[in-house]
């Protein structure tokens, strides 16, 4: 009985640690699941996937908007920088980047980039390639790039699907044209 106090204190300390660990883990776990889904369970990093039109059957990401055509790219900077481009769209569009803790650390939209967006994404404090376009540092090695194109009906969704073919999400090195 005399030892009861130390067991109670142990339970309280473990409870506090578990509480904060749980709170910190929730966004990361949710993002890991999202990255896993977008990348086809890890098979397809650094490549855009044009999502099916949002319907009641859409279950990839919570609270999807049926008014947008989404393109998603699960990125992985382990092997170096990647280039991300977004082809312009007649109505609202934006390119946004999310770290693996769910932070939206970058966004650009058609007001700032009427002719489309082109960025080079690198790890924090990494040296960007000499010929890199606009350089953005990702706080984490992995994350998700997302393009939203306003497409509230089927016709505009189909048009967005065509436009999305021009988007690029790929390793910077693979896009370099070898010198001849």
């Amino acid at each position: 009985m005399k030892d009861a106090g130390k067991y109670v204190w142990t339970a309280i300390i473990v409870a506090l640690l578990a509480h904060f660990a749980f709170i910190h883990a929730v966004p990361r776990v949710m993002m890991w699941v999202a990255i896993d889904r977008v990348s086809g369970e890890g098979a397809r990093y650094n490549a855009w996937t044009f999502a099916d039109r949002v319907t009641p059957l859409s279950r990839t990401i919570v609270r999807p908007s049926p008014d947008f055509a989404y393109s998603a790219c699960a990125y992985d900077l382990s092997d170096g920088p990647i280039m991300i481009t977004a082809t312009p769209w007649d109505a609202y569009w934006s390119l946004s980047l999310y770290a693996d803790n769910s932070d939206n650390f970058f966004v650009v939209d058609d007001r700032e980039a009427r002719a489309g967006a082109e960025i080079t994404l690198i790890r924090r404090r990494a040296t960007p390639p000499d010929d890199a376009a606009r350089v953005i540092e990702s706080p984490t090695t992995r994350g998700i790039a997302l393009i939203r194109r306003l497409a509230p009906d089927l016709e505009s969704y189909n048009a967005a699907a065509e436009v999305a073919r021009g988007d690029v999400c790929a390793s910077f090195d693979t896009l370099r044209v070898p010198a001849t």
Binding site: Y7, A18, P56, R63, S102, N104, V107, D109, I144
Partner: protein, 195 residues
Amino acid sequence: MLRRVAAWTAAILAGLVLGGASAWAALEIGRGNFGERYGAWSHSRATGSTAAGPYTRAIIARDGLLALSAREALYFNLTQDDQGAPLSENCSYELTGRPLNTRWWSVTLYADDSFLAQNEDHAASIDASHVSPGPDGRWRARVSTVRGDAAYWLSSRNARRDFSLTLRIYNPHRDFQASEETLPTLTRLSCLGES
């Protein structure tokens, strides 16, 4: 010796259960009292922000993963009607509002699992490009399981109980001010079983 090992194990397990349960409860309570309130709408400017605290980040991750930061878009959630009751497909509601001072807006209905309600009504959302105000300057949309004579409709069929509405405001104009007066209002019209 064995008794002591069992006591330590029980203390650690109790701590883990207590910690996990309290964190879950904190997110549930925080979900209902999230950020600022404008009438029945709740909103957090920290959504998507790199400056968001751990609780805000966790709540957003559960209910709105991949949301945009407030610089780009504002998200408002509504889970209760004008009488403070949870939203239910057994009731019909009227959502009214004035044109918002923003580039584009939409209102989308989500079931309690945060996905679109399982129906084929193609009426999960209304948006600025399709909604026009009437002569009094206000637009009106029905939130119910059937459209009836409504010009604009959000279908709550199969949304069950505790569904919610999300108002998205993209590229709000500089002078946009969220307030109870500027945001749409949801009014309960009737419920099944009411006389």
